[in-house]
Amino acid sequence: MHREAKLGLILLLTPFLLWLSLLIVIPHIDLLLVSLRERVGVGQYEISLGNYFTFFTEPLYMVTFLRTAVMSIFATILTLLIGFPVAYYIAKMAKGRAQSALFLLCLVPFWVSELVRTFGWMILLRETGIISNLLQSVGLASGPVEMLYNDAAIMVGLVYTSMLFMVVPLITTLESLSDEVVEAGYDLGGNGFSVLREIIIPHAMPGIVSGSIVVFMLCLGNYLTPTMLGGKESLWFTELIYSQFIVRFNWELGAAFGFLLLILSSVIVWGMLRLTGQSLEKTMG
């Protein structure tokens, strides 16, 4: 029995370790190594921190990096603020069939590719788009209004694209809050605000954290939405990575950028977990 168990363990451990090492660990080590070398001649490289030095001395790179981080944080907060009341409504206000119907309705847009969703926003927001036409026809605008290619459009796209990943974990945690506990909060003299602050939000914390982590990650790593809705001036960090790799073929600098993005996301995720006393296993698993 003992031998059999050991054999089983090895059989299951093999594919896992192969997957983990070949597709996750080794590629990232390679990425790090490439980011740490500098081309000194044709086919000749030496180890240096030059790529990272380039990043810190070129203002455009720094600005793009910080801008991406700040806008991603902002988009995460916005998604949380918009999504929370809806998640609460679905989890605690709606009952029975209406509840499951609303939940499904929330999922529908995310069965479709992000590209399609972004395309939809382009049709809505562009100069010849629906909203522009609507504004003209009600007389709020005298000529075509371009609403695409600015930060607000990026924000709309990011929030829209991320919504599901915020709402679903929120619904899951809020559903587990029993009505009795909320009633007890009121029964003992609490009002809407204090019950929200002392009972509902603390209870929903695991959902808030896991939702925020995923949304933040998705915003930070998003390429499609900033490119399509933000246009040429969108200055998103993933665009820099793409252009270094694919357009300029400067893999060394691109790898450094990729690593910096990875570090940024890890630091913020880790900080968020620490700040709220959660762990990755608990919030993700």
């Binding site: 660990v25 847009p109 069965w111 909320v182 982590i213």
Partner: protein
Amino acid sequence: MIPSIPQSRFVTTAYTAYVVLFFIFLALPLIVVAAFAFNDSQFPSLPWEGFTWNWFFGSERPMIGAFHERSILRAIGTSVFVAFCVSALSMVVGLSNAFLFNRYKFRGQSILYVFMLLPLVIPGIVLGISILVASSRLANGLWDGFQWDVEALRPGLWLVILGQFSFITTIATLVIGARLQKFDKTLEEAALNLGAGRLTAIRTVTLPYLAPAMIGAFVVAFLMSFENFNTTLMLVGSDAPLTIAMFDRLKEGSTPLLNAVSLLLMLGSSLLALVMIAFQKKG
């Protein structure tokens, strides 16, 4: 704020209105995309020029419909192929991982579990470039050392499959693991007690129990692969899957053809999702 707490009519109405607005916000882009698939015009925008099926079935320039556009059809085929490979791989490895983390206790397990979750917090584009870098280093090494040219290690479908497989496996593991966790282990013991061997017990009792989750994992993996953009973008070669092909076209300017393809995508994924829900209900 639950139905049993009395609230003023104003608050209740405002709240409901907010939720309605939210769902309009969710639906709006999709409705717009779907509607303009039927616009008899070269551009997916107002004015409305009348209804047409041409963007689906049209076969003459300038209105070549989705079903007659070679490059789109080929891209769909590529996407299906990639998605199928990724789903199958992820489901198998996910199943194995689920057993590994649910049924065994070994040293370093919790660390490995965190490692298993890591792909969720790595930006897709970083996953993409890391695999790109690693595979080309390997390919270069093989060429330099043995003069072997391994085509599979150059940007192309195989790398796309590997790249997507790398993070979709985590999702599959979580989906299958969640159901395995709920499994009542005494059922397996009962099967052993009734004379089944260990593997037979798993095959006849545990796997049928896991079937809905495995199908669920397969469908989720399929959808995620089909609509993946970031990782694919960095690894794609000459054969572009659908999302990349559409992206390239969109950059050049859109025609309602893209709306038609999008509508087909929506219908396809809704259908898949419904199939999954049906299976989940049965389980």
